[in-house]
Symmetry: D2
Subunit: 311 residues, 4 copies
């Protein structure tokens, strides 16, 4: 059960998985809290696996673009962490958030400091960190993601962006609430534009798998050889992904899958095995926690079939 078991036939593994999850593709529920997301055909499925040695494997709709949504929070966290270093943790915590119903009371209880960077309040603070510390923050962020994924054509879906802004009153509430505690420095509207902007990017499984490779390789991207984070920082983001990356199902995800990962309501899930690979699965139908239903099952099958897990 070594993590460098060269005898794994990656292509067979993901093809089998694609086969086995077929019955689940009709069970999830496509996100429809904004109309643009609700238009996606729910039965699609894709996987891309990128090893740090450069090998790549894919199956299904691995080149179909979808809305990255919360997966983008990993990119803005990476940027904010590299700018602010450990000062970042004065602004946002590192602990799982518990169940969702107490998200606001928690903020109230802890004076406007969100529990972690992946709950919405935390991601809004991260957005503020980026906006406050960079010029042209949204274009720069998009360029950063293009560089990580090696795909210069990545861009925002403007209809999704406008929808997010129009229906984003809850995020506006979080931003104003934290600003009342002094934990938002820039203008609320500017922060939300950045936040909704980078959540509205369209990417495919291969883009995302490649963009996450630096987290599987101690902070250095194995393809472009750029160093984005120190080994310690990369390790820390991985631990946050494991404990907080899949909304209120992080414990269940760790329990079933055992990989650091980040999901988005567009149906994508990025996941990594430190020292070995990064991957992305996509299927738009969500479970009750907002994670791709078939996607979580696919990752569970992946660790079961390969015998690879961090535990």
């Amino acid at each position: 059960m070594s993590r460098f078991n060269s005898e794994i036939n990656w292509q067979s593994v993901i093809d089998e998985i694609a086969e086995e999850v077929q019955p689940l593709l009709s069970e999830g529920k496509v996100a429809d809290y904004i109309p643009e997301l609700g238009k996606v055909e729910g039965s699609q499925f894709g996987i891309a696996v990128h090893l740090i040695n450069g090998d790549k494997f894919e199956t299904g709709s691995a080149n179909e673009k979808f809305s990255v949504q919360s997966i983008s929070k990993v990119f803005s966290l990476t940027k904010a962490f590299s700018i602010l270093k450990d000062d970042l943790w004065k602004r946002v915590g590192k602990e799982p958030s518990g169940n969702p119903f107490n998200s606001l009371v928690q903020l109230e209880h802890e004076n406007g400091k969100p529990r972690n960077p992946f709950i919405n309040a935390g991601a809004v603070v991260i957005a503020d960190c980026v906006v406050t510390n960079t010029d042209n923050s949204l274009p720069e962020m998009i360029n950063f993601i293009r560089e990580l994924s090696g795909n210069k054509t990545i861009k925002m879906n403007d209809a999704v962006f406008q929808s997010e802004k129009q229906f984003g009153h809850r995020n506006a509430a979080l931003a104003h609430f934290m600003k009342s505690y002094g934990n938002i420095d820039s203008d609320v509207d500017e922060v939300l534009d950045f936040y909704f902007g980078h959540c509205s990017l369209s990417m495919n499984c291969n883009d995302i798998a490649r963009a996450f490779l630096f987290l599987a390789n101690h902070g250095v991207h194995p393809i472009n050889n750029r160093k984005y984070l120190t080994p310690s920082q990369a390790k820390r983001i991985n631990s946050l992904l494991l404990t907080c990356g899949t909304y209120d199902a992080a414990g269940d995800f760790a329990f079933r899958v055992g990989m650091p990962g980040k999901s988005g309501v567009g149906g994508g899930i990025a996941a990594i095995i430190p020292g070995l690979l990064s991957m992305c699965v996509w299927s738009p139908g969500l479970d009750k926690y907002g994670n791709s239903l078939a996607g979580v099952k696919a990752l569970e099958l992946f660790t079961t079939k390969t015998g690879i897990s961090i535990f």
Copy 2:
């Protein structure tokens, strides 16, 4: 102990009270969450008592203007109640709110419907009801208050208004949060302008005592003879004032004072005895609940000395 005891010497009673609260005038803390309020000299004190038969009594700084703040919530509630009738209660509850720390979790738990019209969230909903259903809502509201108090010179303190807007991120958070549940119809900024606007009015004790007379007289103002509410509606606002009118100290206020009343962080407290009188006390120093420290004591002395209370 009849409530129409003609032998009460009202002037002596309030003069005695003004004397007895002197030692307390230095104990409260003037509100300073917005700079404009913090500039007020804290040791001032005034009372005005207006009987429904037209008699008036005053002592101390009863003609000194101060910021009405939350006392204005009674005027907007009266307007909203007269417009929407009992449909109003689909938008806002009638129950005390319990302790403050759970205000947001309560909103979350009850799908964006505030517990009562006097907590901030509830007053923002009331503001939305007025804004959505009237033209020129703020000027109209000011005219309404001028009419109730018989004082056409009442106006906003613009410095207070600007301060409220600048530091009002928590109210903006509440408004956006309720809008995410569909419980705010108009534009958030417009609703907040109205809300902060009518809280920023400057009035004196006599203005406020006279403005509340209709609540002591079954909805009909005994001076201008206009009917603002039905007897049943007036009774209901009085019950809300008793159970929810003094922030998180409503139980203590009912316990010590035993009058329906409404306080503001400007240091004013309006209170009524149904069928008999309305009154206003003012002293800027606040207790830990945000109620005028000397003002609450003055009202307690008032019910003790006169033997009048609703209980």
Copy 3:
């Protein structure tokens, strides 16, 4: 609308009410959280009105015994208040509790001090005050209630008592939790025996109306002329009844009825008009808040028809 309007025909008023609530008698739901209570026939209804001048009026099943349940909390509070005086408020608060779902978190937040004497946690503390400060506390409490009601035959329903104990794990949880904060002095089991014991008394409408007369008469029982509380203490219990006496519907009860009152899940509601009368209505079918559905309506009709209310 004087509260001493001698022209009110009390008998006609309550007869009319009994007639008008008939359609509601099938709508409520009899409490069944303990089997013994669930056996009661739900369509019963009675009223007893006792004026402080000694006049009495009744209609319907006013002499039918039922389980007093939480109404008994007023008797133990009276006893504890007369023993501990204002020291009582170091142990229990005076504020409404807000919505029920936060009862435990409130206790946690406020270090084991319940919000008021009528929520279960508060009544358990009151029970501890009585148990710790009296010998033979349960027999003595029963004698006290017999004296107040002038009925020496009042006794516990043993089947109800045993059921309460058997299914009382939530109250045991509250008691242990408060003991962990040092707010329960006596043994938990002894306190709970007292608590369940006096809640298990069977009384009828006339018993209860008469027992509450001292609260309508400034602390002195007008029939036996004994002084149970000072005028100030009686006023304070009345204010607590108004703000906290009907579970999480206290605001609605004040709004619709406008009388200090206390309900029990046995379907009884005691209510008073200070200076005038005490009364008890009974109908076992409960609304969603645990108050007698027809009982609340009957009291609302009573204040509407007589034009009497404290507001």
Copy 4:
């Protein structure tokens, strides 16, 4: 950075750590919520590392007995999981609990089902599972722990046990509360006796390190060759340890240390590297979260110095 790096000099690593944590030994605060625990000398420190190949290393007071406290929850969870299999998760969740202040409201919100097996409420449910499904549950549990650790002399500290029972009102509250929801089957006192009993065991670092070896070896104890859990079950307990094993600092522990681990207020922390080793550090001084202050630092140094971590 392979996890099987044979060049690591384990003895040097732990000796260096013991040296480096010296300045921290006076900084933590020995638990004193029960008097017996408060008597321990705070500046003690020990480490034991047991590789799955049988090699053992120790430094400092690795053979000094201390109170295992919450570390014992892993043993009862192992027993309950092996008895009930996945039915266990109907009784207790798998998610981190968020901050402590909401523990009871969470239980209330989720109908008496605790978030995970390591918060107190969850451990009480686990205790109930063991008590309900085994005869002589406490002696059997002690035998089980003796077998895992290979030390037949392990026994309870009776003074600690009596103290826990005497001051255990909060756990009694949790147990009664969950019983009110039907999530405790056995008698509350019996469940608490078991719970306090196995928390009161005295063990040393070598005992605990050896007892945890089966979790580092896919469920099979590498010394006695007995199979306690399936590989999948072992993996799942490891994921629970990572996400929930160190109270409200699990995220920080994962972030800094990156090993599945379980702490106790006696100052011990057990931790494992799947496929490689288990270890135990001990120092009685606690940080504000209730974890051994020097112990957490020692584990952080261990993963830093060896380059081993699951991330």
